[in-house]
């Protein structure tokens, strides 16, 4: 009974993370994307905490705390601040229309489920579902990176991809804490680098549209 309940709850939280991924694809405004991202990170922290409780693995609480503090609070606030500070155009510029993006996203989720379920036939049910959800989140993050023009949305896509990785890591038993900590720190470093990068692009081109960056490569001429 308790087993079934814990499974259902884990499944629910995982599905919430995935839904948040779709939500990010759907948003047309930059702040809404950031808020959805914060929500996804929050759901991720909840997933990690629940796994810590179910698996009786206290180190996953640390993971949950890291996800909560950095990804759900620090990174969205920093991005908010950057967007305001730089006065960035606040609509999401798409390379592929939102409807199509959603359809491709659904196809990717189907692919992930088709792929993961047979491969992990022998693993515990919990791990199987979580892995397929985590893989879907990763693919959706990538999709976000390639279908949005603005640099901020690309960073958010990258962070969402990281969320998927962490979700996979927490739902597999026996993954050491070191891995998650290092992922968290790499995200932090990436955040810093991106921040500096934004300033530089902005200073140079008065825009964060990557299109300007492409015309400026020295090897083109």
């Amino acid at each position: 009974m308790l087993q079934q309940f814990s499974y259902d709850l884990a499944h629910l939280i995982g599905a919430t993370v995935l839904m948040a991924g779709f939500g990010m694809l759907y948003q047309r405004r930059l702040f809404a994307v950031l808020n959805t991202f914060a929500f996804q990170a929050l759901a991720l922290a909840a997933a990690a905490a629940w796994q810590a409780h179910v698996q009786n693995a206290p180190h996953l609480y640390a993971t949950a705390a890291i996800a909560l503090i950095f990804k759900a609070i620090a990174v969205p606030i920093a991005l908010h601040w950057l967007v305001e500070r730089l006065g960035i155009h606040r609509t999401v510029e798409t390379a592929l229309s939102i409807g199509w993006t959603m359809i491709v996203g659904v196809a990717l989720v189907a692919l992930a489920i088709m792929l993961v379920l047979p491969v992990t036939a022998k693993a515990a049910a919990l791990t199987r579902e979580s892995l397929s959800i985590a893989m879907s989140v990763v693919l959706l993050g990538m999709l976000m990176m390639i279908t949005r023009r603005n640099a901020v949305t690309q960073v958010v896509g990258f962070m969402a991809l990281e969320n998927g990785l962490i979700l996979a890591a927490v739902s597999a038993k026996g993954m050491p804490l070191v891995v998650e900590i290092s992922i968290a720190f790499s995200v932090l470093v990436a955040m810093t680098v991106f921040g500096i990068f934004f300033f530089r692009i902005r200073e140079r081109f008065d825009s964060l549209d990557l299109h300007f960056l492409e015309t400026y490569r020295g090897d083109r001429q």
């Binding site: 390379a95 491969v119 960056l213 492409e214």
Partner: protein, 668 residues
């Protein structure tokens, strides 16, 4: 033991010359060492061919971690050991004197022993790994020597083309041997012999083997590197590359198609005969046109490889139809031509080296009258040229005659393609032999007869004793191999016996001096008797001429056969000799363009007649391949200029594609 120690001494010699290359005498010492090693290897091969030890194996614990290096010497290896090390020894002895004049000798001598080492190791290899490594050793060492005189742009181009073709050849042989080893991964030849190679695998093995060894041997259209690379190396190396390295390639062909594969269809035999016939005719046609004496010889090598491949193809066709006796005969003929060509081509290249040493000229139209200045070299070169033109009683005749005799049995095969095709190939072979005679009459006549065309030819002096001795030994070998054909074919039938499964004597009907491959009343030949009769007739003619000729009164003619004034330009030239043949085949085979530039009125400069020729293979095959490569490179080049999102998209699509592949594969 003898063979192993001789083989090991070769890399040591290379190290020695790298260490002491500055010392003048070191080069002579190194070549003397190579000579001794080759003689040891030769005698080792002779012992094995005599059947003293059977086919000894040797397994050494090196190479890839899970493999050991396997070596084995059977009759076929022993025969090729003889072929290679005979020429190798002579070329080494020749090089002692020759390399003194070579300004780039420090770039040649270190690689020469390695080249010999590679070729010999190919022969004794008994697994795919050793075989391929030795094969590459041979290619790369010879490539370095082609590049020795790299100040000339032509040589750099030759080396680049050669390297590309060598890589291509190995690239084909690697999967061929891999396919024979199969998924089990047992790379020993012994395991490959037991494999059943039919269907697609067998087809691919034969195709890749023909491409891989054919590119090394110089089969049309894979021959383009050969006339560039062979002349670019110093002459003793050219002699080995042309006379010997092509034979190592043919050894690979025989080893795989007759020994390891063992079940090749008759269609492949037919294909080889067609390719061989075309190779022979194309090679010799180009040889007739050449002005550079070494390029001429290299093209003649292409021709002779074609002749050998006709014999081998015929052997495959006979073997596939169970005519083992005729297969053995064809194989004996092919092997005999391999032996002969290695001897006379080495002789011709070394002779060309002597001419170049004496005059500094490579173009035959700048030579002339050399027979008076270089009597020994000239006489030896004449023997080689006669052998290459397949004139009796020399060795070149016997083997081509044997191949022709075997071809006459070809229409007896049950397939209509062969019934019709074999006579055509026979006609091609006959045409090639006739053109070869024209080619060497031209080469010898222009270079050695007549009067000198330049001061360099006028002041040429005979080369050192060692070089002359090498030439004389090789010329002697040409005569001996031609005069005792039955002894040679009997030895070769020992070699052929394990490959075709029958033991036979070419001289079955008539006994020792008479070669009668088919039957005693359809065709027989005896070099021995021919020489006896020839010598007797020659003596009689000389006696008669002396008796009656000298007493007649002689008067000089007013115009003295057009030679009254001593202007060498009035002589027949090389291009004019070749012109009729160029006219006949000009438009198609050579893409020849002739143009005459007349001086404007009032200008007293001479009119100029220029001829340009290009091998159609360059445009037809390599030009297209180059075009395809460029097109592909352009496509790839676009990837260098994608946007950031473009790169991400590419990675994403690749990932999704691979995931799809995994998903689909596990569903099925």
């Amino acid at each position: 033991m003898l063979i192993a120690s001789a083989l090991l001494s070769l890399p040591l010699l290379s190290l020695f010359i790298i260490a002491f290359g500055r010392w003048e005498r070191a080069h002579a010492v190194a070549y003397a060492g190579c000579f001794i090693a080759c003689v040891s290897l030769f005698s080792g091969g002779l012992e094995h061919l005599g059947g003293v030890w059977g086919a000894p194996n040797l397994v050494l614990p090196f190479g890839l971690p899970w493999l050991k290096a396997h070596f084995r010497i059977d009759n076929l290896s022993a025969l090729f050991l003889l072929v290679i090390n005979f020429s190798g020894a002579i070329a080494s002895a020749y090089a002692i004197g020759y390399s003194e004049h070579l300004h780039e000798r420090r770039r040649v001598t270190p690689f020469y022993p390695l080249f010999l080492f590679g070729m010999n190791t190919v022969l004794v290899a008994d697994d795919a790994f050793v075989f391929l490594v030795a094969w590459e050793f041979m290619s790369l060492a010879s490539w370095l020597m082609v590049l020795a005189d790299h100040e000339k742009p032509d040589n750099r181009r030759a080396a680049a083309v050669y390297l590309m073709m060598a890589v291509f050849g190995t690239f084909c042989l690697l999967p061929a041997l891999g396919l024979m080893a199969g998924a089990g991964g047992d790379y020993t030849f012994a395991a490959m012999r037991l494999k059943d190679l039919s269907g697609v695998t067998g087809f691919l093995v034969v195709l890749l083997t023909l491409l891989g060894t054919g590119s090394k041997a110089g089969l049309v259209p894979l021959h383009v590197w050969l006339p560039l690379a062979h002349p670019a190396a110093p002459s003793h190396v050219s002699a080995l590359m042309s006379g010997v390295m092509t034979k190592v390639a043919l050894y690979g062909l025989i080893r795989i198609l007759f020994d390891l594969h063992g079940d090749v269809g008759w269609q492949w035999g037919a294909a080889m005969m067609v390719v061989g016939g075309i190779t022979a005719v194309m090679g010799v046609l180009y040889a007739v046109m050449q002005d550079d004496i070494k390029t001429l010889l290299a093209y003649s090598t292409v021709e002779n490889v074609g002749v050998v491949v006709i014999g081998l193809g015929l052997a495959i066709a006979f073997k596939a139809d169970g005519e083992n006796l005729l297969a053995a005969l064809a194989l004996v003929a092919g092997l005999y031509h391999i032996v002969n060509h290695s001897v006379f081509k080495s002789l011709l290249f070394l002779g060309a080296g002597a001419v170049i040493t004496a005059t500094g000229k490579r173009s035959i139209s700048q030579l002339g009258g050399l027979l008076n200045r270089l009597p020994v070299t000239g006489a030896a070169f004449l023997v080689g040229a006669a052998a290459a033109s397949s004139l009796p009683p020399l060795n070149g005749f016997v083997s081509e005659w044997l191949i022709l005799q075997t071809l006459f049995k070809g229409p007896g095969l049950p397939h209509w393609a062969m019934k019709f095709g074999v006579p055509v190939v026979g006609a091609l072979l006959a045409l090639a032999a006739a053109l070869a005679a024209a080619c060497f009459v031209r080469a010898y006549g222009i270079a050695f007869l007549g009067r000198p065309r330049t001061d360099a030819a006028r002041q040429a002096g005979e080369v050192t004793f060692g070089m002359r001795a090498s030439l004389v030994v090789l010329a002697g070998a040409c005569v001996v191999l031609g005069v005792i054909p039955v002894t040679v074919t009997d030895a070769l039938s020992h070699v052929v016996q394990p490959l075709t499964g029958v033991s036979f004597k070419v001289s079955a009907d008539l006994g020792w001096p008479w070669l009668s491959p088919v039957s005693s009343n359809r065709g027989s030949y005896s070099g021995t008797v021919l020489v006896m009769v020839g010598l007797a007739l020659f003596g009689a003619v000389i006696l008669l001429v002396h008796r009656f000729g000298t007493e007649a009164v002689r008067r000089a003619d007013a115009w003295d056969c057009g030679h009254r004034e001593d202007i060498p330009q009035t002589q027949y030239t090389g291009p004019s000799f070749a012109q009729p043949i160029r006219r006949v085949f000009g438009g198609t085979v050579f893409r020849a363009r002739e143009s005459v530039v007349m001086p404007p009125p009032g200008d007293d400069s001479p009119a100029r007649h220029t001829v340009s020729m290009i091998d159609p293979v360059w445009d037809g095959v390599y030009g297209r391949i180059g075009g395809i490569v460029n097109w592909a490179a352009d496509l790839v080049n676009r990837l260098q200029y994608l946007t950031v999102r473009g790169y991400l998209l590419m990675m994403f699509c690749t990932l999704v594609f691979m995931l799809l592949v995994v998903a689909v594969r596990q569903q099925s």
